[in-house]
Structure formats: structure tokens, C-alpha cells
């Protein structure tokens, strides 16, 4: 079952998450037309190592890079390479690092230059559904409530929820129990208790929900070739509600006061 974290353990998780968020800020700026995905991977590795942390994905089940970078129809787990970003691409940046044995994991999707209104709406709705998921992180609620919140918001907006990949508990390893699906009925699955840490990560497709994995064994793409977006935050369940450990830009104040 899932392990709960002590206050000092949460501090380590928070430090790891801060490094991830700071690095994602740099990457979001660097994602410009003409940049290769491998260059972004190098930047992320430099940032993480300069901050005194260790990349979490490098070597995880044989994953060959620091960053997962998933462009357009790529859902998640895209391996950095020679691909050049182009104006109008939407780019999923997923990053993790380790501080004092604890993992931080976070992701966001950014547009390169000017993106189409439909792509922008997909990114907006994905981020909103993550916020709905976070709002469920109160002690006593259940994992199923999180999935239900994501699915209802996503499908009401005309998008579909990826089912083959799920959020997860996080702590002393990257993927811990419980799995956190972004779909399903409310009121089911594990009960949330204070000290639980979850990586919530809705993945939404503009078309159908099916995904398939490419020959490299990692890169997941939408089966119908439609656009896909992915946002992820690490959240601790506190007695008074969610503490967003990897709070990005708009949550700055909330994280500081929590």
C-alpha cells in the first residue's frame, strides 16, 4: 500500500520538486522553433546537476534520457533526439529528479511560437482538469474521485482521456502505489490519507483515447494521430487539503503559505 511521508520527508520531496519546476521554467523558455529535442535534454540535465540533484528518468527501466519530450501527437515518454521544434508545435516536457533519495516529478505542455486555437484549448483544458484533480486531494476522499474529476471535465470539453497511462504515488521511488487513473467512477479505490504523495497527470487527446507505443519501446502516440497534451504536478495530501509540491507559476503564493 501507499506509504505516508513525514514532515521532513515532505521537505526533501519539496526540494526535488522545486528543482524540477525551475528546470521546466528554463525549458519552456528554450522551446523555440529550430531547437532540437536533444538540446532541451542537455539543458535539463545541466540544470538538475547544477542544482545538486540527480536525474530521475535516466536509466529508469532503461530510459535513455533526462527529459521526456513529446511533440504534438506524441502522448508521453518521447525520447529526445534530432527532431527540430517547429512553429505551432505543442511540446510536452516531463521531468523528474532525486534529492536525498526522494523523487520530484512534474510535466507541462507548452506551445512553440503561435499555436492553433484548437491546440491551445486542448492545453488549457488539460491544465484545468489537473486543477480539478488537485481539488480532490483532501483526506477521506478516494483515488476514484480524482479520476472522475479529470474525466468529467475533459469529456465535457470534447476531449478524451488516455487510459493506458496513469498517475502514481511518488516518494522514495518514481512509481509507488497507488496507481491514479484519470478516469473511472467516483468513490472507488484507495482512500486518501494525510502524508500521501501523488503525481497527478492527466493526459488528454483531441481525438480518440487509444494510444500505441512506437518501435523504440517508449514513445506513446495517439492511435488516430490527433494532438495530445499532458500536465503533471506532485501533490501531498495534508490534513487541511492539497499541498502542491511542484507548484508552478500561478500557484507560487499558495505553495508558500501552505
Amino acid at each position: 500500500m501507499s506509504t505516508t511521508k513525514s514532515w521532513s520527508e515532505l521537505q526533501s520531496m519539496h526540494r526535488a520538486c522545486r528543482i524540477v519546476v525551475d528546470t521546466l521554467d528554463v525549458l519552456a523558455q528554450a522551446a523555440q522553433p529550430g531547437v532540437t529535442t536533444r538540446e532541451l535534454d542537455r539543458i535539463s540535465r545541466d540544470c538538475i546537476e547544477k542544482a545538486g540533484a540527480k536525474p530521475a528518468f535516466l536509466g529508469y527501466r532503461g530510459y535513455p534520457a533526462t527529459l521526456c519530450i513529446s511533440v504534438n501527437e506524441e502522448v508521453v515518454h518521447g525520447i529526445p533526439g534530432k527532431r527540430k521544434l517547429r512553429e505551432g508545435d505543442i511540446v510536452g516536457l516531463d521531468l523528474g529528479c532525486i534529492v536525498a533519495g526522494f523523487y520530484g516529478d512534474s510535466a507541462r505542455t507548452v506551445g512553440v511560437g503561435k499555436v492553433s486555437p484548437e491546440a491551445q484549448r486542448l492545453m488549457d483544458v488539460t491544465e484545468q482538469s489537473l486543477m480539478h484533480a488537485i481539488a480532490q486531494c483532501h483526506p477521506g476522499r478516494r483515488i476514484g474521485d480524482i479520476g472522475h474529476a479529470v474525466q468529467s471535465h475533459a469529456e465535457a470539453s470534447g476531449f478524451s482521456v488516455v487510459r493506458q497511462f496513469v498517475g502514481h504515488g511518488i516518494g522514495t521511488s518514481l512509481h509507488e502505489e497507488p496507481q491514479v487513473p484519470n478516469y473511472g467512477p467516483p468513490g472507488r479505490r484507495e482512500r486518501l490519507v494525510p502524508g500521501m504523495c501523488l503525481a497527478l497527470e492527466p493526459m488528454l487527446n483531441a481525438g480518440r483515447p487509444e494510444v500505441r507505443t512506437l518501435g523504440d519501446g517508449w514513445t506513446a502516440v495517439t492511435a488516430d494521430g490527433s494532438l495530445s497534451a499532458h500536465f503533471e504536478l506532485s501533490v501531498a495530501v495534508m490534513p487541511e487539503g492539497p499541498w502542491v509540491l511542484s507548484a508552478p507559476y500561478p500557484f507560487e503564493g499558495k505553495a508558500a503559505s501552505a
Binding site: Y60, V76, R163, F165, V166, G167, H175, Y183, G184, P209
Partner: protein
């Protein structure tokens, strides 16, 4: 980095039309029925074989066998 919605299991019974009853190791659920994925190509899958099951989105009692596990 998202986790794969996959769990380890073991075949307990082979049913007609390439359907299998699979016992899951974790998850706290005893058994699911699972079809083979088109990619799985698992000829002669027999009772006791270890498999990796991808659980269905809607129905927790059903899944698909993705590959054999050694």
C-alpha cells in the same frame, strides 16, 4: 512520468475464443478475464504462464494480455 496501467498476472484457465482467466498478483482483485492484444501473438499460452495484463478503462474485471512474462 506516467506509470503504465499494467499489472502482472498468471493464467489460471484458458477459455474459448482466445479468452483467458487471469489471476492478478497485486491489485487486491482475484481474477480478470482477458483477451489477447493483436500485438501479443502469444501462441500456446497455457495455464500457469506469467503474463502482463493491461486493465480495461471502464471495467475492472476485464483486461488485455499484452505480453508474456518470464
Amino acid at each position: 512520468m506516467p506509470d503504465r496501467r499494467e499489472v502482472n498476472g498468471r493464467v489460471v484457465e484458458s477459455l474459448p475464443s482466445a479468452l483467458f482467466r487471469v489471476e492478478l498478483e497485486a491489485e487486491g482483485r482475484p481474477q480478470v478475464t482477458a483477451h489477447l492484444t493483436p500485438e501479443a501473438n502469444l501462441l500456446r499460452l497455457r495455464q500457469g504462464d506469467g503474463v502482463v495484463v493491461e486493465l480495461s478503462g471502464g471495467d475492472a474485471r476485464r483486461g488485455r494480455i499484452v505480453r508474456r512474462r518470464n
